[in-house]
């Protein structure tokens, strides 16, 4: 086997440009597969981390009349959960409302949150510390959309539990930056007690965000949505991308492997005399099969090496600097505007194994054909 490796290395190095074309395309595919998969993994990991930290916690206990996909359920989708059942939970009350920045109406979701909570990364201490009558915090996207700055006042109109409209100015106590549009776009956060008071819904909540110690029990009128269920949409989006990604890089891999296959098949015609000479010198058929299979496989080994040379700096750069994803926040869940690809050892190893094994398989079939050549005819060949 050592001899076969030595000869195969010598042969593919001696093939010059043909080798480097094969290696070039295969290394490109190798780097691209790793990069794209790392991007998807990074996207998913960041999305999960951000969503958990800013919005989902370790699951949500939602009022059974509340449907996150239907804003009309905000009117009735709330209730009171006994205090003894509120342990390890952060209550949120959600109401439909409008603000009037620079005189134009903007529909929003008004969210009440406990000012002392520490579960979510929302800077609720700014609500606690503010002396304003109705302090509010907004995300950067919301602030930009409504042209709001810290300290600004904006007219808020809402309806109480009876449906009666009321209005007051809210003061922007803080603007936070988050990668999770679900806690930012089209919403204003105010103290829970204040919102309950404004709407006459004392003690009511639309949902509760659970911390890691929360144990779900059977609560009448409430349903527990686990973290996994909440992340389903994000995971599904990544999964869909991942499937289309697989299709793309299987196509790319097929093209690269086709180049190797083509080279190997061409060897049946173009290297007949060489094969005849090997056999006349005493190489067994198995050794010829090994030699040509290793030759084909060695393209992928070289491709890994070459891909490593130019791929590693690329991976390092994007792994630390991230990739700007302008406009992706429109997707609505915990998507970062900058994604940091996650280049893990196992990812590189599995891609390496995939590329090497597939190139070995694709080389084996022509190699078997090569070994079956009649040595007499092979020696008579002009090539």
């Amino acid at each position: 086997m050592k001899l076969a490796f030595r000869l195969a290395y010598k042969n593919i190095m001696g093939a010059g440009l043909r080798t480097w074309l094969n290696v070039g395309i295969l290394s490109f595919v190798f780097v691209l597969i790793i990069f794209y998969r790392a991007f998807l993994i990074g996207w998913q990991e960041q999305g999960i981390q951000n969503s958990v930290a800013w919005e989902y916690g370790y699951g949500q206990l939602q009022n059974s009349d509340y449907d996150p996909a239907d804003p009309f359920t905000l009117d009735d989708g709330h209730g009171i959960l006994p205090d003894d059942q509120q342990q390890n939970l952060v209550p949120l009350l959600l109401r439909q409302a409008s603000i009037y920045p620079q005189g134009r109406m903007m529909p929003i979701v008004l969210k009440g949150i406990g000012v002392d909570q520490e579960l979510l990364k929302l800077p609720t201490q700014k609500l606690r510390e503010s002396a304003a009558a109705i302090p509010a915090i907004v995300g950067t996207r919301m602030a930009e959309a409504a042209n709001l700055k810290e300290g600004d006042q904006v007219l808020l109109r809402w309806r109480d539990k009876e449906g009666t409209f009321d209005a007051a100015n809210v003061t922007i106590a803080g603007i936070f930056s988050t990668q999770v549009p679900g806690v930012d776009v089209g919403q204003i956060w105010i103290p829970l007690r204040k919102l309950q008071q404004m709407t006459g819904l004392q003690g009511h909540a639309t949902l509760f965000v659970a911390n890691s110690n929360f144990v779900s029990k059977n609560n009448d009128g409430w349903r527990f949505v686990s973290q996994q269920e909440l992340l389903k949409e994000l995971n599904a989006a990544v999964e869909a991308e991942s499937i289309s990604g697989w299709v793309i890089y299987l196509l790319l891999l097929s093209i690269a492997l086709l180049a190797i296959f083509d080279t190997q098949v061409l060897s049946i015609f173009r290297r007949q005399r060489e094969i005849g000479t090997y056999i006349s010198l005493g190489l067994t058929r198995n050794r010829v099969v090994n030699l040509f299979t290793i030759e084909g496989t060695m393209y992928s080994l070289l491709a890994t090496f070459v891909g490593g040379i130019y791929g590693l700096p690329i991976f390092l750069y994007f792994g630390t600097q991230g990739i700007g994803m302008g406009g992706i926040e429109e997707m609505g869940f915990g998507m970062s505007s900058r994604i940091y690809p996650a280049f893990g050892f196992s990812l590189i190893l599995t891609t390496f194994v995939l590329v090497v094994v597939s190139s070995a398989l694709i080389s084996y079939w022509p190699a078997r054909k090569i070994a079956r050549l009649d040595p007499v005819k092979a020696l008579k060949s002009k090539h």
């Binding site: 000869l7 190095m13 005399r273 005849g276 010198l281 005493g282 190489l283 007499v376």
Partner: protein
């Protein structure tokens, strides 16, 4: 010189040719002793190369027995015939068949790589073989940098480096000018004498025939004449 190392008994070789069969060899019977310097002579299609290929275990007879180094060729597995070639048979081809990406040294070394020799042993053997053919200074050259005569010398060194019992040379002088042809034949003759290696040629080159001790004339796949020319030359010289 009294030991039979090749025995051809009633060998017939037929090839399929479309719907018909072409008979390349018909009922051939020959014996070769160790150290012979003989050759098959005849026009194209007379069966010279076919016979050489059978002796070299690259092909096997359709009928009859070809026994080389005590092994019946048609009964050898691929592995066994590869081993026979690797250990005991050297080939010299008309177009040299050197591996173009290897240096002269590596081409000659190739046959030894299949055996369990140390690097030092291989180096010693390769340099010795290159010295036999006068190419010790060209070890690092690629075949593309060699003349035809030099290329064929490398092929001879490659065939001889493992010190085989038999060397089979198929039209070794066909691509060479007269000077180079005589050069390589003198080298082979010398090796035949020094190492007692059996040389068998397939040729229709008069220059080659001048060096042969035994000439087997083949016509239409049959032995037309089997003459020992050493004796004739000795007689002619004594007259």
């Amino acid at each position: 010189m009294d030991q039979n190392i090749i025995s051809i008994q009633n060998v017939t070789k037929r090839y399929p040719m479309g719907d018909r069969e072409f008979t390349a060899l018909k009922n051939i019977n020959l014996e070769f002793k160790k150290g012979e310097f003989g050759g098959f002579v005849g026009p194209s299609g007379s069966g010279k190369t076919t016979l050489l290929n059978i002796i070299g275990s690259l092909d096997s007879p359709t009928e009859g027995k070809a026994i080389v180094m005590g092994k019946r060729i048609s009964e050898l597995s691929h592995k066994e015939s590869a081993l026979l070639r690797n250990l005991h048979i050297g080939f010299v081809f008309q177009v040299y068949n050197l591996l173009p990406i290897y240096t002269v040294y590596e081409n000659v070394e190739f046959a030894l790589l299949l055996q369990d020799n140390t690097k030092q042993e291989r180096k010693k053997a390769v340099m010795e073989a290159l010295e036999w053919v006068g190419l010790q200074d060209m070890a690092d050259k690629k075949p593309s940098k060699l003349s035809g005569g030099e290329g064929q010398r490398v092929a001879i060194a490659r065939a001889m480096v493992k010190r085989p019992q038999i060397v089979l040379a198929d039209e070794p002088s066909a691509n060479l000018d007269a000077k180079n042809a005589h050069g390589i034949l003198q080298t082979m003759k010398q090796l035949n004498k020094e190492l007692n290696t059996t040389f068998l040629f397939a040729t229709h080159d008069e220059k080659v025939m001048e060096y042969l001790d035994r000439i087997i004339h083949l016509e239409d796949g049959q032995v037309a004449e089997d003459e020992i020319v050493t004796a004739k030359r000795t007689l002619t010289n004594s007259k």
